[in-house]
Amino acid sequence: MAPPRVAGVGTTHFGQIPERTSRDLFAEAGLAALEDAGVPPGDVETLFYGNFMGELAEHQGHQAPLMAEAVGIRAPATRFESACASAGMAVREAVRNVRSGDADVVLVGGAERMTNMGTAGATEGLSIAADDLYEIRAGITFPGAYALMAQAYFEEFGGSREQLAEIAVKNHDNALVNEYAQFQRAITVEQALEAPMVAAPLGLFDACPFTDGASALVLVSEEYAERESLEAPVAIVGTGQGGDNMALQDRRYLARTPATERAAITAFEDAGMGPGDVDAAEVHDCFTIAEVLALEALGFFDYGEGIGAAADGVTTRDGRLPVNVSGGLKAKGHPVGATGAAQLVDMTKLLEGRHPRSDDVQPEVGLAHNAGGTVASAVVHLLEVVA
């Protein structure tokens, strides 16, 4: 089957909007995606929906049918939960669904409501993406887990907090013109280094914020796009998924993420491409160190070489491989169950030349990388302008 086309994308503003329900957030994003696509709701054959902690945040399980109803589609709906990779996994299933010929039109996306839980509540909520018995009960938080990986990285490969700070500075700068971003505010390396510690060696500015928001895409078959004369030049040409042991203590590597490596290899094989074909990437930078781990596992840098990429200007907008032009999770925000879809929303706009950063970055091939927990789950998609 021909690769599915991205017919339309939609997103809410990302930020602190604790009073809005996830059903309202997803309705806004889903309706925006349908309108952008020019696809009538009645044509949607299934909804794949990502959400991580709706039970904790708003006492709401079984969210998928609620979201279909909120968008006004009468189609079967399924929720995907893979921690912060929930929406990326939903996208992967949507791609496979269209490719298999099961559906011509799929609505896919995700939503997360977080800030109504407060800092302590959201910290506890996010921590359950780790192993409850052997990690959470030993004091591991989500930032704490990535701090363990950062410290292990420093021990194995070297690197500095300054180099991590450069990643935060880059992603904040990228988000300055992104009207949907949580932070449209420049920061400096000095500010980042002086910010309070969250889990040493990671400080407040190494961490993504708590975010409320939703994002959605309409994926269609090539045949449907042609029949309906849709403007849908971007195709999802590769998909891949990888897994690893859940707890850091059971991993072979403390400073590498093989799940991402496996997802990337699979996606590149699927697309008949390699890392050198990618012009821009949206990677899962829930923490600054996570961007480093991602870039190395995706094959863009050798292990131990990725930490200087932002500081050296390789991953800035004018660099060889612009990374997180949207602002990334760090500055755009990280509504965890929506993030995997939000990455594709921004990448699609970049590929179509209608992104606020399109003057600076004009890719033909883009990569999106979404990770769950401490990368026990990873999913990679490759997007290309094909029409």
Partner: protein, 128 residues
């Protein structure tokens, strides 16, 4: 502690054993280590798992000092959590030391601590 709804079978027995100075791990036929409850070695799939005594001391491989804690450790923060290797198995625990005293490579013994916040048990590492 005898109420089964308060127990996590496998995990709580291991913590009881560590508290008694008789900690163990599960060793498979290939010599890989893991922690209970397990029916299958997470590294190779072997199902022949044997309880094997934990080495007396482990070595810290990575650590972090958590300043912003989850609610169940709110009054314990800041505290230092580490991953330490005990032969073929790693444990994660809270180090019984000031943050400045913890570094990669230090030797620790496994013990059981009780959180200040809720009085809940946790794996504790005591520097040797």
């Amino acid at each position: 502690m005898s109420d089964p709804t308060d127990r996590e079978e496998g995990y709580d027995e291991l913590l009881d054993a560590i508290a008694d100075g008789e900690g163990y791990y599960l060793e498979c036929g290939e010599g890989h280590g893991s922690l209970p409850p397990r029916r299958v070695c997470p590294h190779c799939g072997d199902r022949a798992l044997t309880e094997t005594p934990l080495p007396e001391a482990g070595e810290v491989q990575t650590y972090t000092t958590v300043s912003v804690a989850a609610p169940q450790f709110a009054e314990d923060a800041p505290y230092t959590t580490a991953v330490a290797s005990f032969g073929p198995v790693r444990l994660t625990g809270i180090v019984d030391a000031e943050p400045d005293a913890v570094e990669v490579g230090i030797s620790v013994e496994p013990a059981i601590g009780e959180s200040d916040t809720r009085g809940e048990r946790y794996v504790r590492f005591v520097p040797r």
